[in-house]
Symmetry: C3
Subunit: 260 residues, 3 copies
């Protein structure tokens, strides 16, 4: 059996010693752990971004992998740290709702532990860096096979992000959604389900009508604004060979309107 996999997702960036410190502590506890970086470029303290990221990435992994997530504006306050098992995935996360969508998508209820047993922590525990002093050592122990009951008791309540679904305006006969993610290419991922495009549908972003619907970017001429279904199955706005974010001066939160 291959050595245990542990993934890391943080908002620490690549230029601080924080990620390296976590890796060091984790490997100090389990030198055989195989570390996989998912991203250290989650925008600082952006829990909604982390939620989107995890919902897209984690289901691609095989069950059993341990995913450590440190996007943690509440570090050192009374917020809890959770160990979660759902659909066979294992998460170590701050209790701030960063796995809300993942829970919604799961096929069954999660088992959730509150991480409260200090014997598996690094001491003294810094009030500002639980990534190094709690997440990393607990992940090390869990990857060694420590039973979850040892890290803390099962809990049945945890934080969830408030849903921000698109709404339908009955008077104007239109869906009003928003951009929830902008990728490296400037593609705009929205919160609109593909079904809003069924039948007549005029898509408008930033006052610009987007009349061309395609299956993939390369179908349209370079520079054309297009609507398509994203790789995660939601409505996406793109520019063939270009950046919709730049062309439409759009970002997370920009309204996307679909008139029916």
């Amino acid at each position: 059996m291959p050595d245990p996999l542990v993934t890391l997702t943080t908002d620490f960036g690549d230029a601080s010693p924080y990620v390296a410190s976590m890796k060091g502590v984790l490997l100090g506890i389990n030198p055989a752990a195989r570390l996989v970086d998912l991203s250290h470029r989650i925008p600082p303290q952006d829990i909604r971004f982390a939620d989107y990221f995890l919902a897209a990435a984690i289901p691609c992994f095989p069950p059993g992998v341990l995913h450590v997530v440190v996007v943690d504006p509440g570090v050192g306050t009374e917020r809890n740290i959770l160990y979660v098992e759902l659909d066979g995935h294992r998460l170590l996360v701050p209790d701030n709702g960063c796995w809300t969508t993942l829970e919604k998508q799961s096929s069954g209820p999660p088992v959730v532990h509150r991480v409260s047993e200090p014997r598996y922590w690094r001491h003294p525990v810094s009030a500002t860096f639980h990534g190094r002093d709690i997440f990393a050592p607990v992940a090390g122990h869990l990857s060694l096979g420590l039973a979850p009951d040892f890290v803390g008791p099962v809990v049945t309540e945890w934080a969830r992000l408030q849903a921000r679904p698109p709404r339908f305006d009955d008077d104007r006969r239109e869906w009003i959604g928003e951009v929830i993610f902008v990728d490296e290419f400037g593609n705009l991922i929205t919160n609109l389900a593909p079904s809003v495009l069924d039948g007549p549908a005029k898509v408008t972003v930033a006052g610009q009508l987007i009349s061309r619907q395609v299956r993939t970017y390369g179908e349209a001429e370079a520079g054309t604004l297009v609507v398509l279904i994203s790789s995660t199955g939601i409505v996406e706005i793109a520019v063939a060979g270009g950046s919709a974010a730049n062309l439409l001066r759009s970002k997370v939160g920009t309204q996307v309107i679909v008139a029916k």
Copy 2:
């Protein structure tokens, strides 16, 4: 024998879930694969940059390593995906010419397969994310030892980038080359062979004569513009302790003239 190595090179950036999704799918097929990130910062859809990158990096690796490259503006269109063996290196690449220079440098002809057998793909296949749905699972299977014949038939034609060699202007007695890569330090890598510096040679970039030729950066005083031979064996323009890109306001495509 150590577990198989699989490298990843993409233009996905570090802040999207795309790289993480690929890693998850690949590890789902071959949990023992050892993933090595080469870069996820290839400029979006920049095939020429990918070509330069791969030509510099891949030959440093031992034979047998599988290199997965997703810089793929044509995703979802009729462009092919290729599995390539050359000089013992193994590549999984979109058929867009991103390995042109690597092929030119190789000591023998490559063996090339078209990746066409859907049984090794992830279904349903997204039209916009073949990295996750074709490249990653096929790489997983190949790293498990799947014989290349199973991923698709051998082909004998593929895309190549058009060469943009420097030209010699007979009237003016000068080589006219260009910057093909700018690194993190602002060093300008050109497409000029070292031989253009033999004998008398006046190097000019952006109207600025660069009269000092050195073996390494630290030979000149800080702030001095210098010409040297890059670590990949071509003409490079640098500033000792500084950025030639900033000082000369130069970038990829900037002309570099060597008067003889």
Copy 3:
């Protein structure tokens, strides 16, 4: 016993083939090495930043891990390359002082070798890329178990960074320190010991008095400027839920004054 761990810390950035080239050469010598990226975003040629980074990160690792550090403005000049053992940690570093603080913190004297035996290098050695041609292959051999005596002789002198400690102004009765590191969140890490906050202490940065002292960010209302003890045990200036660097227009070198 798990396969040997080798970490990589460079200022190469993520978009050049330099990091990939080093990984390829290292794995060519020791295909079983387990590579761990610490950071490739050390600011170009910033030895003081590297010193801070290593002092925070390396002590978190278990002994025996080999740490390869290429922040090397003197590449190709007469500067030496060193192999260092201290507190059980193993370093391969340019002899430019980048491990000064690590040495100061260590519990005993280091053993230091000058890397001088070319039989373990990659030839021909580029004058500008010792990362690929000396550091990576020597690291590969050391990770295979090569005894340090083979890479070169023990030396007893090496470069050290000049200390820039805070000073106490007797007339004004104040400590004058400076920002030595700014993290991704815009937190300002200073060179001031926590003891300067004992008793009366008025902290001023960029003309702004920071009157609130906290244990962790989340204790204050969002937007509040706070003083706290960093996770590495020194004085830090932060903004709850925001960026002190932006709010105070501060960066490395900005004065931090503590009036007593």
